[in-house]
């Protein structure tokens, strides 16, 4: 299901200098006693959707504001195609971003909002009509943006991000407030942007929102990246070479497999996870000892498991019962 990074990376981007569209290196920032960013480093590559994941307060939005030159840092650099954002001549032709869909003048129409943005980059009004059509807002374009639903505002924000036809798209929590139709549309849209060779960075605090969309994940906690890897690699690393075994004779099975040198752990009322032995050897051993079992399968971690595992120590405010609730 997840595409290999090298298959989706367009050939024109193969030279190392242009390989990464966004390079974030060692960002540090304090707000008083709070460390908002604590050595944040990662890269965003073309042709991929990079999921930027982490609990609320982990530093995702701050990092995005730093990339866009809105917030200053105490240390570190964030470069767009090798240059700091504020040195870009027509920045929207390099990076399209959506930080907050509600950041609109409520009595200005969607079309006029895009029009002033277009004028700021020297783009023609024709381009405004194109992006409006692209996000499906044509019929509402002349209405005041203040009357838009959150989903429509997200679409308008996406239109603004697309205005300069940029090679980099950066969206902060674009799924927030979207109805299921909108979420499906957004996923397809992000995939198509990456398929066109663009670098797409999408933040979310929920793994479920990006797990079917992202090729690459940057997981952050407490102001730094705690994982920066392809989705398939992350799952493989978390799964290990483990085998899940379903049996009603758990104690017996654990003893037999333990004697054979496997590490065994009970993971449920009638399930055991075994590592250190291949599945066929486990079946043979259990048959020899006449241990009944109903299922042997390769254990496969879900992204949700990976994410919860990674961010376990990084959640700033955790309710005591959250781990129970999330099961």
């Amino acid at each position: 299901m997840y595409k290999n990074q090298h298959e989706t990376t367009p050939n024109r981007k193969l030279t190392p200098m242009s390989a990464a569209e966004i390079v974030v290196a060692g960002l540090r920032k304090r707000y008083g006693a709070t460390r908002a960013l604590d050595g944040m480093s990662f890269t965003v590559r073309p042709g991929l959707v990079t999921g930027f994941l982490g609990p609320n307060g982990a530093g995702k939005s701050t990092t995005m504001r730093v990339i866009l030159g809105l917030d200053a840092v105490d240390a570190g650099t964030a470069l767009i195609e090798g240059k700091p954002y504020h040195s870009l001549r027509h920045p929207l032709n390099h990076v399209g971003s959506l930080l907050d869909a509600a950041a609109l003048h409520p009595s200005r129409s969607a079309r006029d909002h895009l029009l002033w943005l277009a004028h700021s980059q020297g783009l023609a009004a024709r381009r405004v009509n194109q992006v409006i059509e692209q996000v499906g807002l044509t019929s509402a374009a002349r209405r005041k943006a203040g009357g838009y639903s959150l989903g429509m505002r997200q679409r308008l924000g996406i239109a603004a991000a697309l205005l300069g036809d940029p090679p980099i798209i950066m969206l902060d929590e674009p799924f927030n407030g979207m109805d299921p139709d909108g979420i499906i549309w957004m996923r397809g849209f992000l995939r198509s942007l990456a398929a066109q060779g663009r670098a797409v960075l999408v933040s979310s605090h929920l793994m479920s929102e990006v797990q079917d969309t992202a090729d690459h994940l940057v997981v952050v906690g407490r102001g730094k990246a705690i994982a920066d890897a392809g989705v398939a690699d992350l799952i493989a690393a978390a799964s290990g070479n483990r085998v899940a075994l379903r049996t009603t004779a758990g104690t017996h099975a654990m003893r037999v497999l333990g004697h054979a040198g496997a590490a065994v752990a009970a993971t449920g009322r009638d399930t055991i996870t075994v590592s250190g032995l291949p599945a066929d050897r486990i079946v043979t051993l259990l048959n020899q000892s006449a241990v009944p079992f109903s299922e042997v399968s390769a254990h496969r971690a879900t992204l949700e498991d990976v994410y919860l595992e990674l961010t376990r120590d990084a959640v700033e405010f955790r309710a005591a019962t959250q781990s129970e609730v999330s099961r």
Binding site: D71, H86, D100, A103, H105, S107
Partner: protein, 252 residues
């Protein structure tokens, strides 16, 4: 800079409130001037005072919508968060700020000219025809008063823009600007010491700046017309510098 100006002008013209506030300035200025000129006692020898200043009195009121317009130009963006979109599109903050100031100057110049000429016209129509004493733009001091009053409105706009950029909140900024304009005259009215009173009139942004409207008894003024407008310009410059510097160094 050309692109930033184009963008700011598009912003200005695509919402209704700037136009309404400018119309408010015109209406308030002309209305108050009309009232002032119709209640004055005139005899065959004259109207016992500075009729030019009297005809331009409407800007006491007409400056308030200008101040509100100027505040909203930037504080409206802070309240919605749109300032981030603006600075993402125009990352050179000094350029973005200058584009706002220039666009504001342009619209206030147009609105202010209409308002001030309307007030002069109202004065001409209402005041009795005194022959050679009639209001005329061909008269040097009168032309200076009219032109200077438009400049005064522009300076009030820039002062308000600077304060709002520093303060970022609409209500607070409007409160500070209107307080700065209207509280000084109230204080100086309650002070009995003539030296202090004179000093207040020399440093207050409104009473100093509106010295530009005087056409008679110039030697009895606390300060000369152009020096007075210079004081207001000083206030505006200080506010723009403070606002511009804070915009450059602050996170948004």
């Amino acid at each position: 800079m050309r692109l930033a100006l184009h963008a700011e002008w598009t912003k200005m013209r695509t919402v209704a409130s700037p136009l309404w506030l400018l119309l408010g300035t015109v209406a308030a200025t002309v209305a108050l001037s009309a009232v002032a000129t119709s209640v004055v006692n005139c005899t065959a020898r004259g109207c016992g005072g500075d009729t030019t200043k009297l005809s331009l009195m409407g800007v006491y009121l007409g400056q308030a919508p200008v101040a509100i317009l100027a505040v909203l130009v930037i504080s409206g963006e802070y309240s919605s968060g749109m300032i981030r979109t603006t600075l993402t599109a125009m990352p050179r903050r000094a350029t973005a700020f200058a584009a706002k100031a220039i666009t504001l100057t342009g619209v206030v110049a147009v609105g202010g000219t209409v308002a001030v000429l309307g007030a002069v016209l109202a004065g001409r129509l209402i005041l009795p025809d005194l022959g050679d004493q009639a209001l005329s733009l061909a008269d040097g001091p009168t032309l200076r008063a009219v032109f200077g009053t438009v400049l005064y409105l522009i300076l009030i706009g820039l002062l308000s823009l600077g304060i709002a950029t520093a303060v970022r909140d609409s209500a607070t900024s409007i409160g500070i600007v209107l307080g700065l304009l209207y509280i000084f005259p109230i204080i100086s009215g309650t002070i009995s010491d003539p030296d202090w009173q004179r000093l207040l009139q020399q440093i207050a942004p409104m009473s100093a700046g509106l010295a530009i409207q005087a056409t008679t008894d110039l030697h009895s003024l606390p300060l000369s017309p152009w020096a007075g407008l210079g004081v207001t310009a000083g206030w505006a410059t200080a506010a723009l510098l403070a606002g511009g510097l804070l915009l450059r160094v602050r996170d948004t």
